[in-house]
Structure formats: C-alpha cells, structure tokens
C-alpha cells in the first residue's frame, strides 16, 4: 500500500512540519541560550551556543532581581488557588450533579454563562471592591479573584465527571450510613482524582501566567507574583538582554516542566473539553 510516491510526499510534509516546529522553538531556545551569554556576546555573535555559561545572570536575577521572592509568591498563590478551587468547585459540582433541587439548573447556567460572557473591564470595579474590603495589594486580594476565575471551568469539568459515576455507588454509600457530605468527601472526591488532576494542571498554568489582575491588584514588590515581577524587572533592565532572558527563563521553567511532564493530560483535556461545549 505505501508506495514510494507516498513516502516522498511524506518527506515533504515532515519537512514542512519541522520548519513550523523550528519557528515555534526558536524564540524559546534563543531565550535560554541568551540567558547564558554575556552582554558583549549577545550583541556580537548570533550563535545558539554560549561560549561559556554565564550562570551569574541567573544568580543576579534570582537575588538582586528579587526573583526568589516572585517565585515563592507565585508558588504560594498557585497552591492556595488550587486548594480553594478544588475544594469549592468539587463541593458545588457534586451538588449540581446529584440533586435537582430548587434553582439548581438556573444556578448552574449562571456559572456556565459567566464562563462565556466576556467582561473585559470588570477588573476596574473589582479593584474598587478590593480597596473597600481592604484587600487591594494583599495576598488574599489576589488569591480570591484567582479562585473565582478558576471556579466555573472546574465546576463544569467536575460536574461532568460526577454525573458519570454510577448511581449504585451513591446508593451503597447511603445504605452504609454516609450522609450527603460524607458521600462527597469519602467516596466522590477520591473517585474524581483524574478529573481533579486536569483541573489542577489548567488552574496552575492560568495562575502562573496571569498578568492583568496581578498588575492591577499588587503594587508591593514583596507580594508580586512572577509575571508581575517580570514586568517590574524588564522596566529596570530594558536592554540588558542576558539578564532579562535569565529572568524570563526562570519564570518559564516551571511551565515547561509542567507541560512536558503532563502534555498527554493537557492535550487530551483541552481537545475533549473544548469540543464538549
């Protein structure tokens, strides 16, 4: 079946696809390679491989550039958001999946609608609200909006998962004396591990890469998450490219790690999730 003609056209196709891969990879590789060069080298040569590895760029960005703080902050914001989103959305999703109580459908569509309707400027009243609540420029003031932005999608995914759990499991749990909350906590939540993992990956990616809210809500350098830190740092080192690229690499490394570790889940989750709507 696979004639010679087929393999030649296949060669062309792979050639084309590989050239797209090259265009995709180049900026990322250029960032990493430049982060290990000296300032002179960056302006002098166009080689991908640094003459000698300038780890001092990383040390400078990490310490003097405050990236140790930004990094730790982002880890904290991500962890807190994950915890909040998983707990709150799984409770709600469980209830939405289980019961046809009064208003449950309306409430659910409310959440779905909030996912669909664009409100490009809602960050302004949100900022005003946070000031009133004394939460602007605080950790909590960033974490709560992050939790809110993760809720809708998570409820959507987890509700779908919970609805696929056989009714017998719920009945068995009731017979064994598990209340509504007990069934949720002991039976459904552990069962939902795979779906929760998908939610975790996407929420973590979103929090780590979020810019706008971080820009509006946080001004204190000690509280800045990593992308906000990058904005701050690039303002001070606008053309010190090796330093700048070291900072960018620090902020990107966790994303790359997460991506290459979980690419299967990420790609599967995305492909399935989007087409379900």
């Amino acid at each position: 079946m696979t004639s010679k003609k087929f393999s030649i056209s296949g060669l062309f196709i792979h050639g084309f696809l590989l050239s797209v891969v090259a265009v995709n990879l180049f900026p990322v590789l250029w960032m990493i390679s430049s982060s290990l060069k000296t300032q002179d080298e960056v302006f002098g040569s166009a080689s991908m491989i640094p003459k000698s590895f300038q780890w001092s760029n990383y040390i400078y960005a990490w310490t003097n550039g405050n990236f140790q703080t930004y990094f730790a902050n982002s880890l904290l914001y991500t962890a807190a958001t994950l915890l909040g989103v998983i707990l709150i959305s799984s409770m709600a999703a469980y209830a939405f999946a289980q019961a046809n109580f009064k208003g449950s459908k309306v409430l659910f569509y409310f959440f779905v609608a909030s996912m669909m309707i664009p409100i490009p400027g809602a960050f302004i009243p949100l900022y005003v609200l946070l000031i009133k609540l004394d939460l602007a420029n605080t950790r909590l003031g960033l974490i709560i909006p992050y939790i809110n932005s993760g809720l809708a999608l998570s409820i959507f995914i987890l509700k779908g998962f919970f609805e696929g759990v056989p009714k017998e499991i719920h009945e068995a749990a009731t017979i064994d004396g598990c209340g509504t909350f007990g069934t949720y906590w002991h039976i459904y939540l552990p069962l939902a591990k795979p779906a929760i993992m998908v939610v975790c990956i996407f929420t973590a990616l979103n929090v780590w890469n979020e810019v706008l809210l971080a820009l509006v809500i946080i001004n204190d350098q000690n509280l800045m998450p990593i992308q906000r830190g990058v904005l701050e740092f690039q303002g001070q080192h606008f053309t010190n490219y090796p330093l700048l690229m070291a900072a960018l690499t620090i902020s990107t490394l966790p994303i790359l790690t997460l991506y290459f570790l979980f690419q299967r889940h990420i790609i599967k989750g995305l492909s399935e999730g989007a087409l379900k709507e």
């Binding site: 891969v21 995709n24 900026p27 166009a46 302004i124 709560i144 909006p145 995305l270 492909s271």
Partner: protein
C-alpha cells in the same frame, strides 16, 4: 401522614439543605468577585469618577456619547483589534487547519511530537512571549535585522516595532504565533471525530483528495470551527499583555488595543467611570460578534 412518609420528608429536606450548603461557597465567591463587578461595570459607566474621591458625579450617557462619537483613539484601538482578529481568523486559522489535516491524516509517525511542539507557545505567558519577540524585532539589537544583514538583505532591515507601517503587523504576527497552537489542537480533535468510513464512502463514489476535504472534512469540522472562531475573536480582541510589553500601544496609537486603552484610562488617567463605559462598549461589541457568528454558522449548517 404515615410515620415513614414524614421521615422521608424530613430526610429530603435535610438532603436538600446539605446541597445548598455545598454550593454556598461557590455562589458566594462568584456573586461577590464575579457578578458584583460585572454589574458595577455598567453602573460606574454612568459616572465621572477618579477612583479615589468619595464623590461621584452622575453624568447619564455622557461617557458613552463621548466614547462613541468623539473618541478617535478608542475607535483606533477597536479598529486595530479588528485587524488583529481578522488576520488571526483568516491566516492563523487556515495554517492551523492545514497543519491539523497534515498531522491528523497525512502522516503516521511523530504525531505526538508535532502536537506537543505546536502547542508549546500557548503554554507560555504573553509577557514572556512579548519580551522575547520585542528583542528579536528590535531595530538595533534584534536578531532579525542582524540576520538580514548577514544574508546581505540589509535593505529589508527596519525598525519593525517603532515604524507605523510595520508595528501592528508584527504585533499581530506574534499574537498569531502564540495562538495558532490552540486552533490546531481543536481542529485536530475535530478531525479525530470523523469516522474513517466517511472517507472510504467518498472514495467509492470517486471523490479525489480535494473533494473528500470539501465534502467530508469541512462540514464535519463545523462545530470545531465554530468554537475556534469564537475563541479567536474573544482572545485577539482582548489582547493585552503582548501589546503592553511589545509596544505599549505605540508608535503613536498604531498598536493601541481596547483592553490596554481601558487599563490606561483607569490606572494612568484615573478616569474610572470613563474606563468602565469603554469596557461596557467593548463587552457589547464582543457579545454581539459571538452572537452574530453563532447565528450565521447555525443558518449554514
């Protein structure tokens, strides 16, 4: 009423109560952090307010009238966003479709590799992507101009991001560079949903490759296409971070985009009422665009 009946009634009430309790935190957060600012966006848009002083002046539709009829910069930013969205819709998504067909139907090996590579840019932060490309395109220090000179094509080198002729095009390219992976993945998922037997049937009827694409692939990708078009419009029209770090809207207002405009209006000019009116206008534009294209595609299929 019999005793078991009463008991069941109580039990039902107890159960329902528990469900409300489980939903309460989500509803509370959403009402306060999501819904309240949404409503406030519209309310604030009728006021003149600097965001700080206790006094707000109610001005009815004055903000709207000013934005709609007098604010050329605002419309410039909307126009730029439409250009970005249009180019993304046509070129980025055609490329994505082509790549999806190639990876999904024309090759057997390395499918996973291509998928991972093509979806890499959407994973990165817009800030990181914007800064790397700002440097690549920099007129003095950028690798693009240096590369052109090395290849003796120095006459093509220019100040990509600071000349009005090329700035918007470059920003758009970078947005598409980062965005095509999304469309690619969704097209690919759509293609995988098409049963092979459809192609075989078309083959038996004597269809060639192009006809197969037209008769089988295109119609069956309709639902994927619909989602991709909406996501592309919503994504590009709300571009912010990429533009912020690449050009900050310049030179002049040649790359100004609506969300950046809204941000500057609120946090640089302290015109909170005016900025929320802009958000409301943009929100209405976006909502009607998605609605319109939903209607159009629905009619077609």
């Amino acid at each position: 009423m019999t005793w078991p009946g009463v008991k069941r009634g109580f039990h039902k009430l107890y159960l329902t109560r528990a469900y409300y309790f489980l939903i309460a935190p989500a509803v509370l957060i959403y009402l306060v952090i999501g819904f309240y600012p949404f409503v406030q966006t519209f309310i604030l848009s009728f006021y003149t307010w600097d965001g700080i002083s206790p006094h707000k002046e109610f001005v009815f539709f004055r903000n709207y009238v000013d934005i709609l009829f007098k604010n050329a910069i605002w419309w410039r930013s909307v126009f730029n966003a439409v250009i970005i969205a249009g180019i993304a819709l046509v070129f980025q998504n055609s490329l994505a479709l082509l790549l999806a067909v190639l990876v999904g139907q024309r090759i057997r090996r390395f499918k996973g590799f291509y998928r991972v590579m093509f979806y890499l840019p959407p994973m990165l932060s817009v800030i990181v992507v914007g800064i790397i490309w700002r440097w690549i395109l920099d007129s003095n220090f950028g690798i693009l101009n240096r590369g052109l000179e090395l290849m003796h094509m120095g006459q093509f080198a220019r100040a990509w991001l600071s000349s009005p002729a090329t700035a918007l095009g470059c920003v758009t390219l970078v947005i598409c560079w980062q965005g095509f992976g999304n469309a690619f993945l969704l097209f690919l998922a759509g293609l995988q949903g098409i049963p092979n037997s459809f192609y075989e049937a078309a083959e038996i009827d004597g269809a060639n490759e192009f006809q197969k694409f037209k008769i089988v692939t295109v119609p069956l990708l309709a639902s994927a296409t619909k989602i991709i078009v909406i996501l592309t419009i919503l994504g590009t029209m709300q571009a912010f971070g990429t533009v912020l770090v690449m050009t900050s809207g310049g030179p002049g207002y040649h790359t100004e985009v609506p969300v950046l405009r809204i941000y500057k209006e609120a946090f640089e000019s302290y015109r909170f009422g005016y900025a929320t009116a802009m958000s409301a206008v943009l929100g209405i534009i976006l909502a009607s665009l998605s609605f319109l294209q939903y209607k159009i595609i629905r009619k077609k299929t």
